[in-house]
Point group: C2
Chain length 358, copies 2
DNA sequence: GCGCCGATTGTAAACGATTACAGTGTGAAT
DNA sequence: ATTCACACTGTAATCGTTTACAATCGGCGC
């Protein structure tokens, strides 16, 4: 890395003191003629103020840390794009980290961000209500705003949609179409408070309609083979006729796996996703899902944080509207609900399928 | 932001000098007993070394700048994920910027990254052979590695696939299927050297086969309405029977737009994309495309850069293998090449509604 | 007993900026 | 002429580290 000009060299060349150069750079009052001389020196030397020196003195890094599970899921990529958009023009830059859905990496990522003395953080954590990293962040008093994590009794500022209401809406819609046996698959609930909220709403609506608790299966986030899981679900005596997936990636994989298993979507099974990623409208059949405004979620979170950083009180939680997107992956419950196969046919392991406990 | 303990306070509490604390932190030789006392003080105070102070003194930020067009295209999101993976455990963090495919924002993004004195850069630029920002980066002598940008006569280190050969392979395949009139749509060629390379290979193969030069249409990167563009292409006297799109997002949009125009894919028109984003296998018809190993591209670029930063000579260019993915979006050229508008024969919706084929 | 060595620790000067505070010079008011 | 306000600029301390260099100490060989 080549030596860069320092403020001292600029000062020397312009024949002024470093203080004056600093003032010119930062737009403080200086005589126009002096400013011109300094400007010239800056241009000649290709001087670029050293942000590190500045940060050290001002105790402000002008850095915002971003920590999300993974960029491989478009819903997060879009949010980060939105954060970048929201931060644009503010003079802040984004320091990025991914947790890969793992709590230990979440912790490590935060440690790294804190080392750089980020001025604030935008992040999605496994569980906002019981989060070691959030406790840490609060202990060091770095302002932060959550994205996607549901707003709960924890009084933590978050920008999200109403996950619970959305889960409820999904169930109500399916029930309205005549479905009576509902199922849900989700990433590990222990590591996703949003999936829990979606499930809670979903199950609550089912209960209110007098239906049995929806079958619930948890799968790893980076699901390799969904087929065995689905095979198991549908080998059960009274399999669901509609499946709610805690995110679109899962839903799309589920539709594919169901196809491979010989189940038609939506004729045999309806499938609903969550997130509203762009691809959902392009897959076949098009995916019914809950659309959250991801880019806007990110942008809003960034703006909230920026507001907080410029001293406008605490950042507030914001609930943005979600919308149910109709898609060809849901249909009415089959008139002839596929009767359960004789119990003797069932492989024993099908019994491990768990049901939810609200 | 709460006051954090400094090395001085730790030193005081442990009853040693700051030099000793620094040595403990950085693993230099100190008496075990002293180290223990310091460690305790660190724990008690919750001390976390200030990276800004460290960077200033050591003239190394341990930051790697990443600049890509947009996270909205999964191909870049995946690459960034790969970069994060490649950097993991190295002690470096990622400073992120997006150019939105615009040269001015490219420039602004780089300026911001340089301000933080990044130790190195991984980036995708509009045109590696004639790039103002690369000239700038070279002027300030910050090590960098390009991703996706084709390796050309410019001697700039880049990690990519052989775009030209891939373009050629696409043409050869289409020609092998009997296609004689080829077309291509691409983002603005002036702002994408990779699209140019793909086109060059594509056109070269067509020429060698004695075919007329493929129709070429450029569209904005964030294409809102492809329909008018495609309508125009297919209103021409002898429209192409196969369309090569410079990336998958475009290809997927093209398939949708063609459907809306009453052209069946692949029966009326074959469509091939580029990138191999995951969604391609899920859309209907599944997308034929050139698959590039995006995550690996990113990871490799990061590793190259890291190698360069730890002083192992200059980073080299790396060409990773691409593969042609078969997909249902290409088929043999229609025996009866459709000359007149077939739209009158078929209701448009019959072409877009398909049942799944497991 | 002396000098020297190695191990350990301390002192203080950077790194590149910002910013109180002090200094200078000008013109206007008296 | 003297004073004062004001506009402008300079001096120097400071932010939190790292690290060259110096200092201290106990022990060891002679």
């Amino acid at each position: 890395m080549g030596r860069r000009a320092t403020i001292r060299e600029v000062a020397e060349l312009a024949g002024v003191s470093v203080a004056t150069v600093s003032r010119v750079i930062n737009g403080a009052a200086v005589a126009p003629e002096t400013a011109a001389r300094v400007g010239e020196a800056v241009a000649v030397l290709g001087y670029r103020p050293n942000g590190v020196g500045r940060s050290l003195k001002t105790a402000s890094s002008r850095l915002i840390g971003v920590l999300i599970p993974s960029l491989a899921n478009p819903v997060f990529a879009e949010a980060v794009d939105g954060i970048a958009e929201g931060v644009d023009g503010s003079g802040y830059s984004l320091l990025f980290g991914a947790s890969d859905y793992r709590r230990d990496r979440e912790r490590a990522g935060i440690e790294a961000l804190l080392r750089y003395r980020v001025d604030g953080l935008v992040l999605t954590v496994a569980d906002a209500a019981a989060s070691e990293v959030l406790d840490l962040i609060e202990a060091v008093e770095v302002p932060y705003v959550l994205v996607y994590n549901p707003a709960g009794d924890h009084r933590r500022p978050t920008v999200t949609v109403d996950n619970r209401a959305a889960g409820r809406a999904v169930a109500e819609r399916l029930i309205g179409l005549g479905h009576r046996r509902l199922g849900m698959i989700a990433g590990r609930l222990a590591d996703s408070d949003r999936a829990r909220a979606r499930h809670a709403g979903f199950a609550a609506a089912a209960a209110e309609a007098g239906l049995p608790a929806p079958t619930l299966r948890e799968v790893p986030f980076t699901a390799p083979g969904l087929e065995p899981v689905l095979a198991e679900i549908f080998a059960a005596p009274a399999p669901p006729t509609a499946l709610f997936c805690s995110n679109d990636m899962l839903a799309i994989a589920a539709v594919a796996a169901l196809g491979a298993l010989g189940r038609a979507v939506p004729d045999d099974v309806s499938v609903v996703g969550f997130d509203g990623i762009a691809i959902g409208t392009l897959v076949h059949p098009s995916l019914a899902t809950v659309v959250q405004p991801s880019r806007e979620l990110g942008r809003t979170a960034a703006q909230q944080l920026l507001g907080r950083l410029s001293g406008e009180g605490a950042a507030a939680s914001v609930i943005l509207p979600h919308v149910l997107r109709h898609g060809k992956s849901v249909g009415p419950a089959a008139k002839h609900s596929p009767t359960a196969s004789p119990a003797s046919n069932l492989p024993a392991h099908s019994l491990v399928t768990r049901t939810s406990t609200p």
